[in-house]
Amino acid sequence: MKMSNWLDWQLIVSGIFIAAIAAIGVSSTSDYVVQILVLATIYAAVALSWSIAGGLGGLLLLGFISFYGIGAYTNGILFTKYGISPWINIVLAAGFAGLLGWLIAAVTLRYELSEDYFAMFTVGLSQALKIVLLNSEYFGRATGIYITIVKDDWAMMSFVSRKPYLLIALLILVVIIAASYWIQRSTFGFRLAAVRQNSRAAEALGINPVKTKIQAIIVSGALGGSVGAFYSQFVTFIDPKQVFSLATNFEMLLGAVLGGRLTLIGPILGAATLKPLQDVLRGVFGGEADALYLVLYGALLIVSCLALPKGIAFYIEKWHRKRYGNS
């Protein structure tokens, strides 16, 4: 592992970042601070999950929240109705979300739909799922699902304090970082990059673009689903409008894009700074003056997308290239 290698450097920095978050969180006396840190970690984890298909894969996977919501409800239902441990549910959620990813990919890629269609399909699907759940008795309709925590129980991922959740969230983030790191170093990563940059030329090199894209969507979806499952356990209350929210969807994507969706550190950086920033802005301007928050947030979105099309990590990479020569 060398600092001069861009990917390795990102891994090391991410590790330091996570250690820092853990340190701040554990030593903090404010529940509010821990809450923000957990949510920032969750957003970072989702953004990084998305970046495998949406960044490395170059796919316009706009409606990502479907996986998150499926994951959330997987844990919500299995925990409250069947008493299954969230530790297991997180894995099951990855399975269900991955399955959904396979369905979406297999169906849409068959038709060689343009990217715009694909994007709109994924968005439409997420809202369709929302409406189905809103009308489903089994899933709690609009009332949603409540998870009651009475006492600490590690086996059931139930804690009175917020701090253990932070550590678990960071653990999940570490797993996803490891996944992205491994992919970027693997043949699969090469294939993704090739298909993203030039699908035709990739085909001439024996790469099956459709299969590669399907794999990317499954991986991204599965990871996103697992984060969603954890989220439901953390917030202890979910409803369709919350976990299938388009607003949340775009916030998470925004973190990945602004941070730099092609990199390891970009989505983490982007999401982890954006989420707290949002909450602070909302705190300052919220309530009656919600309008001002919206204006600022919308303007921020526009300006940063225009000014940093490749994300912040692009500039960090340039600096790294200059500092260390080539990877």
């Binding site: 170093r185 693997s186 043949t187 090469f190 294939r191 990059a193 090739a194 940059q197 030039n198 035709r200 030329a201 990739a202 085909e203 001439a204 090199l205 024996g206 790469i207 099956n208 673009p209 092609l262 080539n326």
Partner: protein, 249 residues
């Protein structure tokens, strides 16, 4: 006599009324360098596209190593051992020169097995030396000039360890001294055991390389022979390139 490595059997490709490839018959023996020439728009690149799977012919067959590969997907054909360059250079802009070639070396075989990345890096380094891009290895491929990009195309195709290499007008835009270098490089590639089919405009290169020449006009094989100079001197070929007026003059 051995069966040919590649055989085109009455290959026909039509685009809504325009017959771009017209009942083309062609054979390429293992270890040969075969040249294909013809005026612009005569169907040479379309033929390549049919062979490599990017287009599906209406009629006819493409037979590679005795196996009918007509209509297979491009990636399947690549895995069987046919590689090509594109007329308009295609590159992976965000990757370095080295990684471009590594990508080629990672090409899976028919059983979808790839070599390791480390091994691919070794093979890529060797090929980059061969084509003369060693000093540019770590640069982003987007920063190369045209001759460099052409070399990269060839390098990447070569890295796939092809049995058959299709080169589509790789000499275009090169200066004479670069053309000579390219000719030498192509011969070296053949000496490594790769069968090559070259589509070219540049007569000098064609004459220097081809052991067998096909002349294509209006999608059909106009002339063929194992003596390129003689083939190019035939009246119907001269006519195709320059028009009847010259013939009478």
């Amino acid at each position: 006599m051995n069966s040919p490595l590649l055989k085109l059997d009455c290959l026909t490709k039509r685009f809504r009324g325009l017959t771009a490839v017209d009942r083309v018959n062609m054979t390429v023996d293992e270890g040969q360098i075969v040249g294909i020439v013809g005026p612009n728009g005569s169907g040479k690149t379309t033929t390549f596209a049919c062979v490599s799977g990017f287009l599906r012919p209406e009629e006819g067959r493409v037979i590679f190593q005795g196996k009918d590969i007509t209509g297979l997907q491009p990636y399947q054909i690549a895995r069987l051992g046919i590689s090509r360059t594109f007329q308009i250079v295609q590159s992976f802009e965000e990757l370095t020169v080295l990684d471009n070639v590594v990508l080629g070396a990672l090409k899976p075989d028919e059983a979808n097995h790839s070599i390791s990345i480390a091994e691919a890096r070794n093979q890529a380094a060797e090929i980059i030396d061969l084509v003369g891009l060693a000093s540019d290895a770590r640069k982003l491929s987007g920063s190369l000039g045209i001759p460099g990009r052409k070399r990269l195309e060839i390098a990447r195709a070569l890295a796939t360890r092809p049995k058959l290499l299709l080169l589509d007008e790789v000499m275009a835009g090169l200066r004479p001294v670069e053309v000579d270098q390219a000719v030498e490089m192509i011969k070296t590639i053949r000496d490594r055991g790769v069968t090559i089919v070259v589509v070219e405009h540049l007569m000098r290169a064609v004459l220097a390389l081809s052991e067998k020449l096909y002349v294509i006009h209006h999608g059909a094989v106009l002339a063929q022979g194992i003596n390129p100079r003689e083939v190019l001197g035939r009246p119907e070929v001269v006519d195709a390139y320059f028009g009847k007026a010259t013939l009478d003059a």
